[in-house]
Amino acid sequence: MTEESAREEWRRLFAAAPKRTGKFTTMSGIPLAPVYGPHSAEFPGVYPYTRGVHASMYRTKLWTMRMFAGFGTAADTNIRFREIIRAGGTGLSTAFDMPTLLGLDSDDPMSLGEVGRCGVAIDSLADVRDLFAGIDLATITTSMTINSPAAVMLALFVAQAEDSGVTRDRLGGTLQNDILKEYQAQKEFVFPPRQSMRLVRDTIAFTAAEMPKWNSISVSGYHIREAGSTAVEELAFTLANGFAYVELAQQAGLAVDAVAPRLSFFFNAHIDFFEEIAKYRAARRLWAKWMKAHYGASDVRSWQLRFHTQTAGVSLTAQQPEINIARTAIEALAGVLGGTQSLHTNSMDEALALPSEKAARIALRTQQIIANETNVANVADPLGGSWFVEELTDEMEREAEIIFAQISKMGEGSMLEGCIRGIEENWFQGRISDSAYELERSFNSGERVVVGVNEFLEGNDEDVLATLRITNADEHKQLARLSQVRADRDDDQVRTALERLSREASDPEMNLMPALIDAAKAYVTVGEMMTALAGVFGRHVEIPSL
């Protein structure tokens, strides 16, 4: 595309886009254009989208301030959700506790001590009803950060929405459902990789057919980075996983344009400011090129990489926790300058515990300062054309392509096969832990400075923050609730639903979503559904390696 035709296309798209009201000038009154440039004929909203997926970017709509929350029982988290909405949050993101993430009921012996600790405990439809009580699921979009039991949680969510009168086609939101990065990084897996991918396929096909406003997968680099990868590895592994899901859907007979627009992405915002911004720009360009050239996508929405950002949990320090507010602000700014669609800012106390209400509010306020006081949202891709940022973007693109070639080679030309074999052969896991180790050595040697950790230690002994306490009382409450659910439900219905689930799981051609939704409506628990599936699929055991 020539510079002139790119500019013309941008002008047309910008004119057509709705605009928010605002004063688009500097504080001195200098008027601001919606974008400056061009650079290499690149414009926001125009292929390959290096400069942003929308022509008007934040002039149309600010990013969604999507705060991740969940702890204790569903009723506890519901109170926090309402607090977030009252404070001006515009989307919800649910954190589940460890048993739920691993498909175990709260009364499973392995759940001891973990119920409601890291997120909210969900065992059955009764809990999902409490979780969203008083929240209109047709207007607030919901993100559910869950992977191995993602299909089960989607079934529970659909069942709850339909019980409350919202049909499934009106539900907007995102299921994380990115199982590949679980084996690579986050390690919350249940079934072996290939069997898990069957469930992912079923959710992609089901949402493509019945839930037009739903994002079926949030392809997540966040956890890859938190587990220790470099920014380049985060970029390359995440996009490769995205390619793998596209190939999975193609194998199931879905067109790339039926699937790719439903994939969204989730990246880390770490503390290396410019590298992060270059990473988001390179991600958009790479995705667009691969979707168009390699996978033959023709719908522009297939080319557009939309992403959520979370600031880096690993960059937070337990020492002098208040200074984490500054780290988070810098990281959040990188996400915004990089053109994120939504953002979660971490709280200052998260190296110590789950966030207190006050700490979570300060984190949201940090986003509101960036959005409302700094004026940075007035101009799309404000760093585009910087010699440094452009060169760094190109270099990250080049390095990611080298990694794509390695993964494709492992899969003999298939990214799907390459990602699975890379997991089975410990290739991803090994690279990530090598990078984590190298970074740690640079902290220990003092080559990299971390304020409050290896330099500038004055203040480390001061009084500690008041952190959120989760007591065993929540665990007891949840156990009582679960036994009530088991007592109240119709055992014959439960048995029938589970028999159907096992039967359909044994037939690889069946889509399991209808059976899961029926099971959810019969108050079959998460643990019961997952156990039935494990009876057919088996369970994954990672060979320990250092």
Binding site: M98, L112, G113, K187, G228, E440, N444, L546
Partner: protein, 130 residues
């Protein structure tokens, strides 16, 4: 003789960055390190520690379950007649330290503990228990 350490992930917490990095740092410092892998129970850890005849057991927990699970590991060892000391690393609020010590946890390393601190503490504990 080299200090032998069993590093373990107990419960459902899959965060393994910290344990792997620390295990490699301990090896760099000349220790022999055995890693259990993920999703262990207090019983499997105690059994492995005794079988491997280690000097110290190191637990890594980032999910908030340390107050329940760390004391259970100590208990499982003592029930099996072992006095192998247990240390803990991860996301542990300072308010929990006293109670963990009362339950027999020999040392706790929070986020940002230096390699030097971890290595010298484990060496100290191992030489006392030897």
């Amino acid at each position: 003789m080299n200090v032998r350490v069993l590093v373990a992930k107990v419960g459902l917490d899959g965060h393994d960055r910290g344990i792997k990095v620390v295990a490699r740092l301990l090896r760099d410092a000349g220790m022999e390190v055995v890693y259990t892998g993920l999703f262990q129970t207090p019983e499997t850890v105690a059994t492995a520690a005794i079988q491997e005849d280690v000097d110290v057991v190191g637990l890594s927990m980032l999910s908030g379950a340390h107050m329940t699970l760390a004391p259970l590991v100590v208990e499982a060892l003592r029930e099996r007649g072992s006095d192998i000391p247990v240390v803990l690393g991860g996301i542990v609020p300072p308010q929990d330290l006293d109670e963990l010590r009362e339950h027999g946890v020999a040392a706790v390393f929070g986020p940002g503990a230096s390699a030097e601190e971890i290595i010298s503490t484990i060496n100290g504990i191992a030489s006392h228990s030897g």
